[in-house]
């Protein structure tokens, strides 16, 4: 199965990660719009790592469930964790001076989105997109 991993340590890695994600999405036959959706979600998730956790990793891989084909994004970091996930998923909430569209935006671009976070331990995010 197709799988690409990017370690995220600085903003240069953001570009590399989203380029890889786009390649995987293209290879899996996602539409141009979906490729942009996926790459943009990766951009938001990777920037969150750089902003809050300093370092982490993003894995993008092919997904198959019966007849359905899709793509899965796995984000992992050992950062401070998210104190209030619900708040962080709210539009316009930001502790970095951004638009507060990162997490909620990425969630809307994907079909499923699960955040698993523990204070002081880190954050794991699993997001999936199915082919239309």
């Amino acid at each position: 199965m197709l799988e690409r991993k990017s370690s995220i340590e600085n903003e240069l890695d953001i570009i590399a990660a989203r380029r890889r994600a786009k390649e995987v999405a293209e290879e899996l036959g996602f539409s141009t719009v979906d490729q942009v959706r996926i790459a943009t979600a990766i951009s938001e998730l990777a920037r969150n790592i750089v902003l809050y956790a300093k370092e982490g990793s993003i894995v993008v891989r092919a997904l198959r469930e019966g007849d359905r084909q899709g793509l899965e994004i796995l984000v992992a970091d050992n950062g401070p964790g998210i104190p209030n996930v619900e708040l962080a998923m709210t539009d316009g909430y930001s502790t970095s001076g951004g638009l507060g569209a990162g997490l909620p935006g990425a969630r809307r671009l994907m079909d499923t989105f699960r955040v698993d976070t523990q204070l002081g331990q880190g954050t794991k995010i699993v997001a999936r997109k199915w082919k239309a």
Partner: protein, 121 residues
């Protein structure tokens, strides 16, 4: 940087074409370069052409909103031109509709828009 986002001047209108993939640092430098240009007193307007940009995330969106806000303070109208359908769909789905920012289908139409607002004033 200069190659990725050249800033040109036609009559007294500034034209900036953003190309390819921009790093966050590039985006910040681009914003500063733009602001220093449009601060020049003869500036009549600014078109930011996104035709060949690969994606617009919340960081780029914030930068565009910032540029437009600062330009407005200086009395310089801004038009965003040439956004592609996939980027527009993605932004709207994220809830980033760039409310209040002027848009145009292409560079030429963006310039026309600026010239028309100039006439009205």
């Amino acid at each position: 940087m200069q190659q990725q986002a050249p800033i040109l001047k036609i009559d007294d209108y500034w034209i900036a074409s953003v190309q390819g993939s921009l790093h966050d640092q590039d985006v910040i430098e681009f914003k500063e370069a733009l602001l220093s240009k449009i601060m020049q007193p003869e500036s009549k307007g600014l078109v930011i052409d996104l035709t060949v940009l690969d994606l617009v995330d919340s960081f780029v969106t914030k930068t565009l909103i910032d540029i437009r806000g600062l330009a407005k303070l200086m009395g310089v109208p801004v038009v965003i031109a040439g956004m592609s359908p996939p980027i527009a769909i993605t932004l709207v789905e994220m809830g980033l509709s760039l409310e209040g920012i002027d848009t145009a289908l292409n560079l030429q139409k963006g310039l026309d828009k600026l010239r028309n607002t100039g006439k009205e004033r």
